[in-house]
């Protein structure tokens, strides 16, 4: 049986798809057979972030409707052997998703994979509800910013009441907070909520902090999951997060400001690459 992980947030633009790409790649790199499923029907983007947009033939909805088999729709990643992508449909309306169809496909995937990563669309409409319904784990992607934190709390409420585990009174979905676009310098200046602030407000375990990083845009430009950029701070932070997800304990990196010399302060370039 595969473990089902939903990557969700409520708010859009906080890094769900970037995170889904990074987490699924990271799990596959660790030797776990992983599939990442795009639930954003009508606005698919996981394919372009993963760099396989030109290889999409059939999609999630085609499989639900029996127009294609799962194996026809699954795209095998060219870089990471144990990674597969199931793209969302670009054309049809989102009502094409229904609990029975999604369950059937997840059950089928479950036979073959160790992890199923569900990339949720923003909002709390059908696509988002379907993405979280069957989840065992939820990664709540949150920016240190008021609207994102508030929406994350709303999503926590829905996870606790509207998922299969909640409805059937099973052990609840395991929640993991992933703080993204974090800028320690702005935190130190009092311009941004700190890790501790967000942890205190949302009161769920922290799985990682991904620093604001230029490498994320560079990775999406080329369709490479940022975790493959081993010299980038964001890539390293994602690797740490996956290690924690798999039970390892690692100290948080990139949460404190570097001590900069006066010269670097004056002439220093923007931090993007770190020598690990």
């Amino acid at each position: 049986m595969a473990k089902i992980i939903v990557v969700t947030s409520g708010k859009g633009g906080v890094g769900k798809t970037t995170t889904s790409a990074a987490i699924s790649s990271g799990l596959a790199l660790q030797g776990h057979k992983t599939v990442v499923v795009d639930f954003d029907i009508g606005l698919r983007n996981l394919d372009i972030i993963m760099g396989c947009e030109r290889r999409v033939v059939y999609d999630f909805i085609n499989v639900i409707n029996g127009e294609a088999t799962l194996n026809q729709a699954l795209i095998k990643d060219k870089r990471i052997p144990k990674l597969f992508i199931l793209p969302a449909s670009q054309t049809r309306d989102k009502d094409a998703l229904n609990i029975e169809g999604v369950e059937k496909i997840l059950n089928e995937l479950s036979l073959e994979f160790d992890f199923i990563v569900c990339d949720s669309p923003a909002g709390i409409e059908t696509g988002a509800m379907m993405a979280m319904y069957f989840a065992d784990h939820a990664i709540i992607v949150t920016n240190p910013e008021v609207s994102s934190v508030r929406d994350s709390d709303r999503i926590l409420g829905i996870l606790a009441s509207k998922t299969k585990r909640a409805v059937e009174n099973n052990t609840p979905v395991q929640e993991h907070l992933l703080l993204t676009r974090y800028d320690p310098e702005r935190v130190e200046k009092g311009e941004m909520l700190s890790v501790e602030d967000v942890k205190e407000i949302l009161a769920i375990p922290l799985i990682g902090v991904i620093p604001e990083s230029k490498s994320v845009l560079k990775a999406s430009n080329t369709g490479t999951p940022v975790i493959l950029d081993e010299s980038s701070d964001a890539g390293i932070a994602y690797q740490d997060s996956i290690a924690r997800f798999l039970g390892e304990s690692r100290p948080m990196r990139f949460v404190n400001t570097e001590r900069k010399s006066l010269l670097r302060r004056l002439f220093g370039k923007n931090r993007e690459d770190v020598s690990a």
């Binding site: 910013e145 008021v146 934190v149 508030r150 709390d153 709303r154 409420g157 009441s161 935190v187 130190e188 200046k189 009092g190 311009e191 941004m192 909520l193 700190s194 602030d197 407000i201 404190n256």
Partner: protein, 88 residues
Amino acid sequence: MSIFSYLKRRSNSTASVAKERLQIIISHERSQRNTPDYLPKLQEEILAVIAKYVPITRDRVTVNLERTGDSAVLELNVMMPDEVLEDI
């Protein structure tokens, strides 16, 4: 973090304003989260029954469920229009 920036952060940084605002709105929203889904419908139906007898508007009926410890109190508030009182 230096002592100076720590003090600055504690006093009136925008981040501490953000935290305070979030704590207030989230605790409010969480308290409403556990109310049963039938409350709005209950309110509609009670309103319909009262409207059969007296002219009343939507905003004059409120239904609230408050949890205190191991018991819950369903509070129903109906503000009767002035004309009704005059008739009595």
